[in-house]
């Protein structure tokens, strides 16, 4: 049995997908912005409830429309993280239809909605501006909740098999 899981981060440009992954995999963060082109694949092994899981993480290039993402990058995914940047409303105005698209096309995959860069915002104020449930508020910069989102995915995988 393979206990590897394909995990894919999607979202607009510059929301912090690469930063979240780098924080999770190598525990580093940088302020400079290097646009991801195509796809970059990284890997990390974690342990959830005493079970070893290998995450093969696909860091996709940002797209302002999830339907424009290459299908072959999405198929076979066990867990999606849909990442938004709460400091830029353009990254979440369409979140509802974006998530709906992912859910209808990849019904068996787990999905978490993530608002990154929480270090830059007032969470209460932000919640007034968005009427869609956000699962986690993270910061790749301060590490806040980064481990947690991957653990949560791991738990969901184990409970759902």
């Amino acid at each position: 049995m393979i206990n590897s899981k394909k995990v894919v981060l999607v979202g607009h440009f510059g929301v912090g997908k690469t930063s979240i992954i780098r924080r999770f995999v190598d525990d580093v963060f940088t302020d400079d912005y290097k646009v991801t082109i195509g796809v970059h694949i990284l890997k990390k092994e974690i342990e959830v409830n005493g079970q070893k899981l290998t995450f093969v993480i696909w860091d996709l290039e940002g797209k302002d429309d999830v339907e424009k993402v290459r299908k072959s990058h999405l198929i076979g995914t066990s867990g999606f993280m849909y990442v938004i940047d709460p400091t830029r409303s353009s990254t979440y105005v369409n979140i509802e239809s974006e998530i709906a698209y992912l859910k209808s096309n990849y019904p068996s995959a787990q999905l978490l909605t993530i608002a990154n860069k929480v270090d830059l915002i007032d969470k209460k104020e932000f919640k007034k501006q968005i009427n869609y449930p956000i699962d986690f508020f993270t910061s790749a910069k301060t590490s806040k909740n980064v481990e947690e989102i991957f653990n949560k995915l791991g738990l969901n995988f184990l409970n759902n098999i």
Binding site: K6, I41, S72, H73
Partner: protein, 270 residues
């Protein structure tokens, strides 16, 4: 002193002075003339001045002429790319040729040492083969060295790109899971971008290796091959993989890694 005497004395004095003066001038003139006429002497005088001029001029070139020259060169190169390529080509060609010559030399040295040092059955087999076929012993070794060889086999789930199984001849510290993912991403990229209809990527050349890809319905096999990949070898490999696939469903491969690894090993030749 009479008046006339005085006059003479005065004349003498005046003339003497004149004469001295004239003599001095004459000497100066002579030396100038000499300097002018004799190149060596002239250059002794003039060169430092010219040198100095040139020095300041040279100092100023970068700031004064630099940009202009660079610009001119840029334009020149841009407008005559063909010529530039033509000019560079032989140089690069020579470098490559030199490199290849060196490599061939190394190769032939290693062949020679192999021919000379080995006192083995293989050597006698080669000698016989050489004797009966008329092909030189070196050529036979050469072809033995370039023989295609499966070095590593990946079985990868389609879509997710997750590694189902992997067997490698040598120990390497590359991450197999990441390779499997990247291979899948490359494969899908090529298939999306360049092929119409139901074609698929079959071969990736990477440095000295060929990565041969064969699709099954829910997974694909990627074999990393060293040496010279040829059609004969490809057909053989294809048959082996198809044979292998017909015996085992993906589920079986995923469940029983021992069986899988044994089977992959059957793909390795020799």
């Amino acid at each position: 002193m009479t008046d006339s005497e005085k006059l003479v004395k005065l004349k003498q004095l005046l003339l003497n002075e004149d004469r001295d003066f004239a003599l001095q001038i004459l000497q100066k003139l002579e030396s100038v003339e000499k300097t002018l006429n004799e190149e060596e002497l002239l250059s002794e005088k003039v060169n430092p001045i010219i040198d100095k001029k040139i020095e300041t001029f040279a100092d100023e070139i970068p700031s004064k002429l630099g940009p202009t020259i660079t610009e001119a060169l840029k334009i020149q190169i841009r407008d005559s790319q063909d010529q530039v390529v033509e000019a560079l080509f032989p140089i690069i060609g020579k470098m490559i040729k030199k490199y290849i010559q060196q490599e061939m030399k190394n190769l032939s040295e290693s062949i020679n040492s192999q021919v000379q040092s080995t006192f083995s059955i293989k050597k006698w087999k080669r000698k016989f083969k050489s004797f009966f076929t008329g092909v030189s012993e070196e050529s036979i070794i050469l072809s033995e060295m370039a023989k295609p060889n499966v070095e590593q086999v990946f079985i990868i789930e389609k879509g997710s790109g997750l590694l189902i199984a992997n067997v490698s001849k040598s120990q390497e510290n590359i991450d197999k899971d990441m390779i499997a993912g990247m291979l899948t991403a490359i494969k899908s990229f090529v298939e999306d971008a360049f092929t119409k209809e139901e074609q698929s990527l079959e071969l990736i050349q990477y440095e000295l290796y060929n990565i041969y890809i064969q699709n099954m319905s829910s997974y694909y096999v990627a074999a990393v091959i060293s040496g010279s990949f040829n059609t004969e070898f490809k057909d053989e490999l294809e048959d082996k993989i198809l044979d292998f696939a017909s015996k085992h469903k993906k589920e079986k491969l995923v469940e029983d890694s021992k069986v899988t690894n044994k089977l992959i090993e059957s793909l390795f030749n020799d």
